[in-house]
Structures are given as structure tokens and as C-alpha cells.
Symmetry: D2
Subunit: 239 residues, 4 copies
């Protein structure tokens, strides 16, 4: 309990290297911005990116990760199935997973959800207001009624996901749409949180309330030494 | 299965008698407008109102009711506790209950929910868009992506209810708020649906899509001959 | 609504052909036993088996299927990924799916769940009692408090599935275990029901209460003409 | 986060004073046994009992309580409605509540649930095995697959409660029944956990695994500084 939570922030990290508009917002990559915020909040962090060997997600890295954060967008298909399988297994064994924004279409999120994870979107600098609908939930610790984002990409319903076990946030967009923006799941012993905001051309991950939500979610998703599980052929306990 | 579903529409029925603005929209009362729509859809209906003896909800009426629809607003406190208890018991025994709009503050809804059922509101003719978030649910049968209401009273989060077993609708309001507008619950053997729209000065219950939702909800909430329940002191089945 | 529900019963159909003990219980295959029971209850049925071309699940067959029932055990790996993909797509589009017993390890169920779907088991003729825990649910229509099966294979917790949206049944086994035996899910517009009993050497699918549950589940899982879903890049509704 | 969680253990405390058989098991009362176990685990505790003024639950005591534990049985009706109202309000405002065993019939639990909370029972020293069905949940931290209780009162389904938000435990009883023994809820900002075992004539609360579950539940139910909630008439945020 008193031990430091170890977080690995995974980022596709291509937009930032190839698009000056994105580089201007995240000069060291989205992963670095998030890592710095988490370090300030007392977490132990490391980062991993798509173009590293094994996408930076070796067995050793994953074994030393309590919570994995995932941002991807244009290159979901370049993530190898073997690494997805490895991450999947770790989540089922208890590693927390926080999927951000366009990560909704990542292989790992789709595999865990079992649905298309499709949605509606628009890049037109909508005004977004992320309303809390579960105000006693630890992911909302320290928030006001909503988080205000002056400009963001719009994501709208229908969002093709299983109904969340807990729905924490619902977004309002000035263009007329709503979206289930904070969604909690359990798969195996692992906790999963999908959090909507974070378009690459907008400084959303510099926002202190967005950083607070991610920090809260890391604490919530960190594994506990949960109960034992046994599978397979077993003798009777009673005769 | 082939038998006709019997619906009782309960209405406080005071606004319509005392406020000409409301009478202009619902000259025969909200209950009558809803009853006519349901009859057109093949349901057997009756109505009951606050100022009838026993509020029109005698034991006999409730025993002959498969689904009860509830609209109340200014006089929740005038509903007798004895009748609330009677309705409560019938819901637990399997009668469906559809609570509309300001019925969120009715005694029966609060008793079934166990929370304050409080919310945020504003009478300023917001534009409302009721988005479907559960598109395979029977209550959404025949709808488009959303229901558009040009003018409605705003209800906003936080809505202090238990998390719905199924969240069917989320409303967007032009003034900047969102609201969980279609919420399914089970209590005992009874099914409960809360449906947000329907301010008394606005012709919402004349809207054909709103009528469709209410009809769909009646079908969904109608009781089945569910499994047997036994309570109390019982002998062992195995020795 | 008044139209006949079209059910396709899929069976691996190898045990019955290769194991005389199974053939004695299901001489025409598990699928045929289930199909006959469903026909008696007014459903339109067809069957499909693993060793038919395309496992009997051509596009045409699936398009004409409202609810698909799935029994498999020893040959899950022989089901082609292409057909699994096709069934997956149809479920997301609204086709109901009922997964029976050892189908918990089928490719289609694991893909829809996103977990291992592993469990504990024992073939020792345990006495099973399948308790209803959701007595108002349509799948329990006409049942008593529990279904008694004198002999069945034991399946025990932990069952590695996402928490069901509705838990309908919990089994008690004489050997000392419990199991979540009736589990409802929604994925996309499709409804899914997992139902535990049905070991191939035991006449469970001849049991009238088991048949009743399967019939109830078919009615529950049959698609409705749910709300429209639109995905992708969309213009703003408000300016 | 680093602050000590303050727990108040409420006990009816009549069995222990009037029944020598119970006094032999809990000479200082069930509340004292639980309080000692919680203190050992680092919690700050106090106790309160029915026959104290205001049942020991003054406004001051409740304001200084993070989590309230409730054991009652024969005298539910002697708990004053005013105190129930006070506890209810505190739960909605964020205080955690752990309801034990026969507390299922307490006024506070029934009010929070909205159902009868009835169940089946038998005092015949059944063997109970409390199976974990949510092995990643913090309430299961440090447990094996199940908790074994050689003798306990039987509680059996049907248990007339709303479907738990998370079902953590399911009990097996040697007499042939099952029971949903660990049930999580949120009402308002408060977290509620119902935990089944603990008949007054049996030393269940001396069991170290039962104590561990209660300690885990206290940590889980302790309030966070959740998001702000505003209700009532509010001006538009957008024009």
C-alpha cells in the first residue's frame, strides 16, 4: 500500500515527430508530458513508444508495470499482435490499463472490450464540458462539477463499447453531441479506465484537471493482491 | 404473451386545472394525452389522478395494472404514504413502473431508489437532444440516433440516483448540461424506467417519438411470470 | 413482433458420432434435441455443425438467423477464424447468441468477452441445483426457485468472465462449489446469454426446465429494430 | 490518504447481554470483537449501541465517522426513524456503510436498497464456503479462493436486493443453498458493502479471514473527496 505505484506511459509517438503543429504542443511527446505530471504526483514512471524494439514493452518492462497508459492514433495496425497478447495477459493478471482518447481503436482496447469501439468524431474545435456523473468515485477526487476544455476534438455517441461497470464522466460538446467519456471496466483481475480527451494538436494533457483525473485513475487501477484463482480439473471439497 | 398489457396512467392533474398555459397544451390532462397514444399502440389503458379517492389507486386498480405510469410535480407531499406503500409493494411483486420527468421527486421513486433523486433544472426553453446510448435495447425500438425537442425544461447532472442497471438515453442541452435521461432498474420482480422529458407547459407528450419511447417502455416493463421466490425459515435440501 | 423467431442451433457434433456413450444420450446430436424442443415452443429452427462447409454458417444462414445457439467442446480450435469473425459481426449487428456449457471456451465467446473464460471443472456426477437470483427476469419465466439436475459435470468459480450485466442463475454443486450459471451481456446491438449445464454424457437437454430456459433466452435475445447508429466524421448539429 | 480511517462499529448489543450462549462467544459484544480486530489493522475505532442515548449515533459521532459498521437482529424496529434518517443522510454525503449478517433487515439497509431485503434462513450449523467471484476487487485482498466457515447460520436465495454493482462473494451451504454474500453499492457519494456471515452464537467475527474482509471493506468504503455536486435552479453555462 505504501509502495510507489509504477506507471508506464506508452505513446505511438509519430505525430509529434512528423507534424510540427503537434510538436509545438508536445515537443517531447505526449508520453513525456504525462510522465512529468505523474512524477509530480509521486508516481514512478517510465515511457515506451511504438518504434522502440518490442514497442518498449518487453516482458521485463510489463512485469515491473503496475499501470499502463496507452495513447495511439494513426498506427494501431503497426502494433504487433504478439505484444498485444502480452499486454492482454498482463491486464488479466492484474495490471491496470488507462486508455486515452484515440486509443479507443487500439488493438488492446478492442480485444478487451469485444466490440468495434467505433464512435463519431469531428475536428472543429468544439467546446467540451466533461461532467462528473459519479461524484463519490475515487477517479473524481478533488474535481469540481465538470472539467472545461475550451477546444477539443469532438467524440460523439454512439460509442460501441460494452456498458461500463461504472460510468464516471459524460461529455457535452458545443456542436450538439454527448459522449461517455470516463468508463471503468474489470477484465480478469485488471482494472481498465477509458478517458476521452486528448487530441494531439490541443494542449489537453497540460491541463491540471486532466492530469488529476489520470493520477486518480492510476491509483484506482493499481493492482491489489486480490484473491487466489484456480482453474482446471479439481477434486471435490465435500464428499 | 398474447394478452393485452394493462396500463394505468397516474397524473397529479393540478397544473392543467389551475394554469391556463398548461391547460392550453394538455386540455384533458397529461394522463389523457398519454393514454390516447398508448391506446393507439394497442394497450388497454385507464387513468388515475391525485384528487380521486385513494388517488385512483385502489387495491383493485393496482391488481389490474401491469404497468403504472407516474407524472407528478407540485404536490408530491399530498400523495398519502399508505398509497405509496401499496404501489411499492406492487412494484416489488412485478408491476412495471414508468416515472416521467418531475416524478423524479415523487415519494414512490425516492423510496425505490434510496437516494434524494435531486438534480439541476432551468426553465429557459433549452433545446434538448436525447441521444440513444444503448441502441440494441427494446426501449429504443424504431428510433433514430436521437430525439430532438426544440424546447424543454433543462434537467442537468448531477442526478442523485443509483447507477442505472441500463442507461438508455443521455440528453444534451443547449445551455451546456447533460443528463442521464433514460434509466432502467429492477426492484424485486418489478421493472422501473425513468424517462426525463415532459415539462407541463411544453407539448412533449404530443411528440410521436416520445410516445414511442413510452410505448416501448411499457412493453419492456410489463411483468413476466418470473421464477418463484420463497423467504423465511426453510429446511435443508441436502443432508 | 408477431413474426416467428428464427433460431440456428450450432453443434460441434463430434462426440455424438465418435463416442457411443454420448450417442446413447443424443442419438441425433445435441443440436437436434434442442431444435425439437424449440420447435415445440413455436420457434423456426435450423441446425449447423462443425464439419459442414463453412461449419454450416454461411452468410445467408446467418442473415436469416435471429438467435444462434452454440455448443462446442473438443474442437474449438477447428472453428475457422473467418467464420468466427462473421458470427462476431452478426452479433454486434443484433443477432442474439446463446452459449451453452463447454462453449465457454469457444473462440466466439472469448472474443466477445475479452477474457480467458477459464473455469474449474470435474466429471464426477455432482448433484447440481441451479438457483434463480433474478426472479423477475424474462429468462426465468415459469420456473420454480431452482432447477434440479441429479447428475452433471461440475463447473466452479472462479469463472474468468466480465461481470455479467445481469446474473440470472447461480449453481450449487454437491462437491462444494458454486458457479455463475446464467449470465446476460450486450455487445453492440446483440444480446448474449451464457447458460452452464449440458455435459454431453448426461441427458440435460432432455430436461423440460432446461428447455424452457433456452426457449425463454431465445425470446429475450431476439433482435429488436433498435435505434440507428452512425459512426465516423460528422458535421456539427449546432453552430 | 495518509490519514487514519475512523470507524464506528454499531451493535444492537442485546443478544450478548441476555443470552448466555451468545455472551460465551462475544463476552464484550460483537462490536468490541470487531473493533479490536480493526485496531490491530491500524484503524481508529469507536463503538455505539442501541441502548445508548441516540443509539450512540449523535451528529458529532457521525460527523467524525468515515465508515459505519452495522450489526442488528432482534430489535430493528427499536431504532428510531430520526437516527435512521441521520445515518441515511451521512451515507449519501459520503460515509461508508458496512452492513453485516442480520443487518439485512435493518431500517437503514432497507431504506438504501428500496426493496424488502428478505431472504431464506436456517439455524442448523450448515457448513459455509464463501467463494470469491471478483478476485481483483480490493475487498478480496490477501484471500485464498474461498473462506471456510465450519458452522454458520444458512442464508439462501432468493435475497430480495437490487442487483449489486459488484458481486464479490457467493456462499455455498452444505444444506443445498447459495447466497450472494458480498455485495457492493453506491448511494449518493457513499459506498455500501453487505457481508453475510456472523450469526451471534458462532465465533465468526473471531475468524481472521472474516476480519480481513471487514478491514478491506473499510478501506474500500472510506470516503474520498469526490467531485462537487450542485442541485436546484441554475443559470445556463452557454448562451
Amino acid at each position: 500500500m505504501a509502495t510507489t505505484i509504477r506507471v508506464t506511459i506508452w505513446n505511438e509517438y509519430r505525430h509529434e515527430r512528423h507534424n510540427p503543429k503537434v510538436a509545438a504542443v508536445y515537443p517531447d511527446g505526449i508520453h513525456t508530458t504525462i510522465a512529468r505530471a505523474l512524477e509530480t504526483n509521486g508516481f514512478q514512471t517510465r515511457t515506451a513508444t511504438l518504434d522502440e524494439p518490442e514497442h518498449g514493452l518487453t516482458k521485463e518492462v510489463l512485469e515491473q508495470t503496475d499501470v499502463l497508459i496507452w495513447w495511439g492514433h494513426m498506427a494501431h495496425k503497426d502494433v504487433s499482435d504478439e505484444i498485444v497478447e502480452r499486454v492482454h495477459q498482463r491486464v488479466l493478471d492484474g495490471m491496470g490499463l488507462i486508455v486515452l482518447h484515440s486509443g479507443h481503436f487500439s488493438k488492446i482496447f478492442k480485444r478487451l472490450m469485444g466490440t468495434t469501439c467505433d464512435l463519431k468524431w469531428r475536428e472543429s474545435n468544439d467546446h467540451e464540458r466533461i461532467w462528473v456523473v459519479a461524484p463519490g468515485h475515487p477517479i473524481t477526487e478533488g474535481l469540481g462539477e465538470y472539467i472545461e476544455l475550451e477546444h477539443e476534438e469532438m467524440y460523439g455517441e454512439h460509442f460501441d463499447i460494452p456498458a461500463p461497470e461504472t460510468l464516471v464522466f459524460v461529455s457535452w460538446f458545443s456542436g450538439g453531441e454527448v459522449f461517455r467519456s470516463g468508463c471503468c471496466y474489470t477484465r480478469g483481475r485488471g482494472k481498465i479506465f477509458y478517458f476521452r480527451p486528448g487530441h494531439e494538436t490541443i494542449p489537453t494533457y497540460h491541463n491540471s484537471e486532466v492530469q488529476r483525473v489520470i493520477s486518480n485513475a492510476v491509483r484506482w487501477a493499481a493492482p491489489v493482491q486480490g484473491a487466489q484463482r484456480l482453474f482446471g480439473n479439481r477434486p471435490a471439497l465435500e464428499k
